[in-house]
């Protein structure tokens, strides 16, 4: 390979903090996050925009970071899974995913969490069908999605201030 492209530098808001980063200009946001910013919580499953595994929020909207150029994020707000917990306290979605086992292998989990966060930002009481629609671009091979739906519903209830607990059949099956 010839000499690498000269690095480009951008400023953005990353997980609530002002950040500057320099990287080869052809890099995707996914690559910049993982390779230049050390945020490996964002995963990849295809790097072709097919699986949703690299989902992050840009200005609050879920995007596939494998299809977004890093350069395009200059001046924008980017949120990754590393930005969800605050001061050592898990986000209610993270809490619910952990509680219900909605993260099995955990590889698609950051993407589901962020897609769900975007959903809950616009809809405090989503129906099961709305949750399915909102998460239909994210593949998970472990869970069959069911614990994910239940975790989103549980987190939504808690975010509304309800003292919600998982239904017994969620944890034990139908008796």
């Amino acid at each position: 390979m010839a000499t690498p492209d000269a690095k480009a530098k951008i400023a953005l808001e990353l997980n609530g903090e002002a950040v500057e980063v320099a990287f080869a200009p052809h890099k995707t946001l996914l690559e910049v996050l993982r390779e230049d910013l050390g945020l490996t919580g964002t995963k990849h499953g295809c790097e072709l925009g097919e699986c949703g595994t690299c989902t992050v929020l840009v200005d609050g909207i879920p995007v596939l970071s494998c299809l977004v150029l890093g350069l395009a994020c200059a001046g924008h707000r980017v949120k990754t899974v590393e930005g969800m917990a605050e001061r050592g306290t898990l986000h209610p979605l993270q809490e619910a995913f952990a509680e219900l086992g909605a993260a099995q292998c955990g590889y698609c989990t950051p993407a589901f969490l962020l897609a769900a966060e975007a959903l809950l930002a616009s809809s405090a009481r989503p129906t099961r069908d709305e949750i399915k629609q909102a998460l239909s671009g994210n593949l998970c091979r472990c869970t069959g999605y069911i614990k994910i739906y239940e975790a989103v519903e549980l987190a939504a209830a808690r975010l509304r201030g309800e003292d919600a607990k998982p239904a017994p059949e969620t944890l034990y099956g139908v008796r």
Binding site: G38, E50, A98, C105, R141
Partner: protein, 817 residues
Amino acid sequence: MASGKKPTGFRVVGKPHRKVDATAKVTGVTRFADDLFLPRMLFAKLLRSPHPHARIVSIDTSKAAALPGVKAVLVGKDLPIPFGILPVSQDEHTLALDKVRFVGDPVAAVAATTEEAATQALDLITVEYEVLRAFPDALDAVEHPEPAIHDYADAGNIHKLIDLEFGDVEAGLAQADVVREDLFFFEGSTHLPMEQHAAVADWSADGKLTLWSATQTPHYVHRALAKVLELPAARIRVIACPNGGGFGGKSDPFSHEIAVAKLAMVTGRPVKVTLTREEVFYCHRGRHPTLMWVKTGLKKDGAITGMHFKSLLDGGGYGSYGVASTYYTGALQTVTYHVPQYRFQGARAFTNKPPCGPKRGHGTPQPRFALEVHLDKIAEQLGMDPAELRLKHLVPPNSLTANWLRVGTMGLGPCIEKVVRGSGWTQRFKQLPYGKGIGLACSSYITGAGLAIYWNAMPHSGVQLKCDRGGGVTVFCGSTEIGQGSDSILAMIVAEVLGLQPLDVAVVTGDTDLTPVDLGSYSSRVTLMTGNAAIQAAERARDVIALHAGKKLETPIDRVTFAEGRVFDVQDPERGLTFAEAVQLAEAAEGTIGTVGSYTPAPSAGKYRGAGVGPSPAYSYSACVAEVDVDPATGIVRVPKIWIAHDVGRVINAATVMGQIEGSVYMGLGEALMEEMAYRGNRNVVHKIPSLLEYKSPTTLEMCDVVTYVVEDPDPNGPFGAKECGQGPLLPVPPAVANAVYDAVGVRIDEVPITPEKVFKALRRKEKGEAGRFGPTAFPDIAWPEPIRVPPPWEGGDGRAVPGGARPGLAPGVRRR
């Protein structure tokens, strides 16, 4: 034995617990293999064959090696020693030595300072191939022994031939009131873990190699590395990173793992490889496409008098687990409904496609599909309810099957009753409007294979326990966390025995330098085997601690109890110590408190050749009812709901059990409706769809609702009675869906996936007055070897083959290496 106790009733086991790695996973902190970045790390890429079957005439890597940034290039002759997961199939080379056997077979490897440079270097490698006739499927390979894909096989391009007969099947069939024959085909599918395989190797100047890899079987990778690299195993450390999904697809030692290890040795720098999604499709080792023929005789009441089953597996280009897979297509037909006489003939063909191997259910979902649809047809023929037919003829608990499998607890009856009641079966089966239907199917799966991959007399699982004077406990075990929750199982079981909370237990797993061997995360063996080893280690620690705590408390040792982080007199709970204080007493008296535990399955009852596949310490059971909507105009099948009941023996972590069952249903639904490894047989046998977009798998919009029933019938061989739940519940889903499609629109789709095209064709045939069916129409003539004849237990014998019943050696037409 004098021992401290835990109080009766479980404090940890059976409850829904947050997994010990849950927080790391929901915060993105878990380090998967591709998340590792080491200083001065190089990036590797593999050059893969564009031909399905060809001889390598020459390779020129000089231009690639000269490219700036390229640090090393390897070809086949740099790693000439073959490897493979099974001792009988050491037929793979890290990089093809003289031949390529599928499009995607690795030919050369490059390490460079950047991924871009490594990729560019691949284009500069010139390979001259002599193209050979390619075999696109098993039928073609059976018909044409030449040119041989491998220089070893049981016959021509038939890798493996099996013929086992347990009793006189013809006599059994002769006693039947009804004899039925059916043909089925189960298309191949792949694991599709969301994580692409990745590995990082590091070579130290003192001659030590470390490999981090997304592997389910670090112990087997360790052995393969030692063999191929000709290094002492003691100088190799394999660390299994948490797998971002496995499902069996990360259970073989792989070319990319060995290649990066060698590249690290050659360059003296860390080397990483991350496969592209397309390459993951080429690694494959997924479900064998399997053609099946089954003939069963039954009495009018549905009692089976004899069964004859044949399978033909399309193995792809290499052996992988294929010999075991082939046996598995004939092993578990006998553990659900009583089969007094049984014959199994199985063949695995080499073809020029990515190798098939173990995918969730390993070799058993295909015959289970065949058997359960076959029984549905038989029930109709006999005028019996399919649930009733099954319930009347269940294998009794604590019995031996015709093929000498030892069934312990057997919870299929309660499973059937749960889904029948829950789904409203009796009111709905055959009574729903046209286009809507429900179908029932059942299954069973092993809880761990009875034998290791390679013959040895050592334990299958080992655990070491260290009790810290601060009250913490660390459990070390070679098991591999692939998302199924195996790390948590260790913590929970140790916590249960020692009266702690799971978060008091630190877990170190999957590291060949630090942890005792566990064979790996396959065959649903981990909870049972590591669990039993962990119980043994923890009970030994409890014994030591109880001894010294009892002295201090002046309490008889049999009253010393462990619970809630304390060690106390069960008759006077106020008299007690903290767990940490008790450990300190034991440590002061005995020195460092460390114990070990091991688990080895009991020997199998069968002693015939082939008896090693099928035996298990315990069998799980599942029953499933699927509800379908079929659009007769398009053939589109939708599955709104599935009821599943699973006999798990005993729940250890309730939340995880639910997740495993739901995940199994999901994967079974994908195989039932859409997943297929499709190739263009007439166009170079290239994979049609090596991408996540084109390889259809269920999204949230296709996944059905699931009603889960967990049946508990503790098995004496399981830890606290637990059996598996991660694979078994997949098995009944495809046949339940197929049976429901028949109930909905009256056509039989005798192959999966049940695509709209197949349903539509079957409906058209039915309209034209032909058989309303889509499926295979013939099973090829195969020159089977003389059967190995083994009398079933009820005909006496000792599990051995009848002398002279089988001709020793190999089938006609066999070439030896």
